[in-house]
């Protein structure tokens, strides 16, 4: 009804789209680079395109990997910090750690939500 039309199935639609889009909740991957892209940034290109672009330019040395974390929920984890960290922006590691924490907490929140629905 009325303006509820858009939000009436808000929860259902959200969980449905998330369920369809989620590829892997068993591991978390966070990469933090420094540098600038050589192309105009168009957010509408979507995550995959931009991620590819960053990775391509990383391979060519135009952007550099500062830190990378791969957290696997079977207990296996991998962390990398560049040896050239002094030349990275000072808050880079904080931002990276922040993103790791956010990613882990988001997964937990989502899993708990689904658990509430499944239990």
């Amino acid at each position: 009804m009325l303006n509820l039309k858009n939000s009436i199935m808000a929860l259902k639609d959200a969980l449905k789209s998330l369920n369809e889009a989620v590829k892997d909740l068993t591991s978390l991957h966070v990469q933090t680079f420094t540098g600038s892209l050589k192309v105009d940034i168009d957010k509408s290109n979507g995550f995959d395109e931009l991620k590819k672009l960053i990775e391509t330019q990383s391979a060519s040395g135009e952007v550099k990997l500062v830190a990378e974390s791969l957290v696997k929920f079977d207990g296996d984890s991998y962390n990398f910090i560049t040896s050239d960290i002094q030349n990275a922006p000072p808050q880079a590691l904080d931002i990276h750690q922040n993103a790791v924490t956010s990613g882990l907490n988001n997964r937990l929140a989502l899993l708990e939500l689904f658990q509430d629905l499944i239990k």
């Binding site: 808000a10 909740l25 933090t32 540098g35 931009l50 880079a92 956010s102």
Partner: protein
């Protein structure tokens, strides 16, 4: 016609269905509560603001408040309001005029901003924030109207504002300043006009009660009046003021009295003018219930208003400190009183028939419970109904907001990026499974980087908090809908849950930067 809950059964929670379908069931329950007007919903747009089914209770309050301030020519009945809202007639014109005169966005429908403005100007228990209603040194017309209405309510001006309102003159405050002087209600200079001290006292009902309580002449059990002119006239003025102060306070407690500005009751130490009527009955009940008969003995007679009445009120206000003066702390107690569907339907019948009265009195209910304990809830049934409605509405607002936040967060994550500042400086991309790829430009300054970190954190915290609230709602629904259950049980559970939901909501509100006092 009495109100009955629509489609009484909500059905059972569809545990056998996949999670998305269960989520859809949760959505439909929430939509049902809104569509059937079971809670006070702030409309999201004009179309919803004029939807009769979901907005009926708000419409009554809006129309009554606009009439009180003189934007409508008459008080409209429920049927008239519905008819007028259906064709967006006089009420919409009045809303536009009010918004124009209040300096608000003029859109012709009542959202949060206009609702709170009406509340601040009309309610006895809200903070009027008088400074807000000035353009430079000039009081906005809405403040002038509100001042006239307040003076009328106190019996100190002959009429409330009407549709012919032009300007409220400074001389309109004359009787108020005279009463302040006669009863020494303030140690400050209270001049006739829109002065900060004058308005501060006029719009502070608690302060007026406190000042009256201090006027006790212990020898005679009457008010100490400092006459300085025509004694008969001044006595009439004081009598009228005291009577109407008592009416306001009794009305706020839920008694069946009218705030009409009339001088129709006796005040201790002054000429007798007692009429047997609603005020007499209300005072008697007040003395019997709230003071357990003590005041009847102390004052000697209950057919006149004595300082003891205001001392009793003031003592109650004094038992609660400002920080703990939170009417929402009673949600569990109030929900426990309304634990049967029949009782809840009775409450909704009451609520549907009330307009402006729904929104005042909760603070006083809370104070009396603090002073006398839960037994107060037994003899303030109407206030209990109001409180219940408010608690349910607030809980509902919280869970609705949480669902919206979950949906918005998910959309954000699926969009693939976090709004984390200038993307040429800080670029944060996300995947649906919450992986992050971050690109920091060496040219980014520390504030850019801090903003970026905060944005990532904020988006995640909103999602987590909102998910917790939604999880709470799902568990609640599963608990009560284990078998067929009705709307009444859902409303009772929502009211009962307010205490648990509120801390989460405050955090969520802080993160999302949502405005508004409620």
């Amino acid at each position: 016609m009495d109100f009955t809950f629509p489609e009484y059964s909500l059905g059972t929670f569809p545990l056998q269905l996949p999670p998305e379908e269960q989520a859809g069931f949760v959505d439909s329950v929430l939509a049902g509560v809104e569509e059937n007007g079971l809670v006070n919903i702030v409309p999201a747009g004009e179309e919803q603001a004029f939807d009769l089914r979901s907005q009926k209770i708000r419409m009554q309050t809006i129309a009554t408040r606009l009439w009180l301030l003189g934007y409508l020519p008459q008080k409209l009945s429920g049927r008239q309001i519905e008819k007028d809202f259906r064709r967006k007639g006089k009420v919409q014109q009045a809303i536009r005029k009010f918004q124009t005169e209040a300096g608000l966005t003029v859109d012709g429908w009542v959202g949060d901003e206009t609702w709170y403005a009406l509340d601040a100007l009309v309610s006895f228990e809200s903070d009027t924030q008088v400074n807000r209603w000035f353009a430079g040194d000039t009081p906005l017309p809405v403040l002038q109207r509100a001042a006239q209405l307040r003076l009328f309510s106190l019996g100190l001006y002959d009429e409330k504002p009407d549709v012919g309102f032009r300007e409220f003159p400074a001389s309109g405050f004359n009787r108020f300043t005279e009463v302040v002087r006669l009863l020494r209600l303030s140690s400050q200079v209270i001049g006739p006009g829109f002065f900060p001290n004058t308005l501060g006292l006029l719009f502070n009902q608690d302060q007026l009660v406190e000042a009256l309580a201090k006027q006790n002449s212990s020898a005679a059990g009457s008010f100490t009046v400092h006459f300085f002119g025509d004694r008969d006239e001044q006595e009439r003025l004081v009598n009228r003021f005291v009577v109407n102060m008592a009416k306001i306070e009794l009305w706020l407690l839920g008694f069946d009295v009218q705030i009409d500005g009339r001088d129709d009751y006796s005040v201790a130490g002054m000429e007798s003018r007692t009429e047997v009527g609603p005020l007499d009955a209300a005072l008697n009940q007040y003395y019997r219930d709230f003071e357990e008969g003590r005041l009847i003995r102390a004052a000697g007679q209950s057919n006149r208003i004595t300082p003891a009445f205001f001392i009793s009120l003031q003592k109650t206000a004094g038992t609660v400190t400002e920080t703990s003066d939170d009417p929402e702390d009673l949600s569990r107690e109030v929900a426990a009183l309304l634990d049967r569907p029949g009782k809840i339907e009775q409450a909704w019948n009451y609520i549907r028939k009330r307009g402006v009265r729904l929104w005042d009195g909760l603070r006083r209910l809370w104070r009396w419970v603090k002073r006398l304990g839960e037994k107060v809830l037994g003899f303030l049934e109407e206030n209990v109904f109001r409180a219940f409605f408010r608690y349910v509405s607030k809980s509902f607002k919280i869970v609705r907001k949480a669902v919206e936040c979950v949906a918005e967060s998910v959309k954000g994550y699926l969009r693939g990026f976090v709004e984390a500042g200038d993307p040429r400086l800080t670029l944060v991309h996300t995947a649906a499974d919450f992986d992050y790829t971050i690109l920091l430009n060496p040219a980014a300054a520390p504030p850019d980087l801090q903003f970026c970190a905060a944005a990532v954190k904020r988006q995640s915290e909103v999602f987590q908090l909102a998910s917790r609230i939604v999880g709470f709602l799902i568990r609640l629904l599963k608990r009560i809908l284990i078998g067929p259950a009705g709307w009444a049980q859902l409303l009772a559970e929502l009211a009962r849950s307010l205490g648990e939901l509120k801390p989460l909501y405050f955090q969520l509100k802080e993160l999302t930067g949502e405005a508004g006092p409620h």
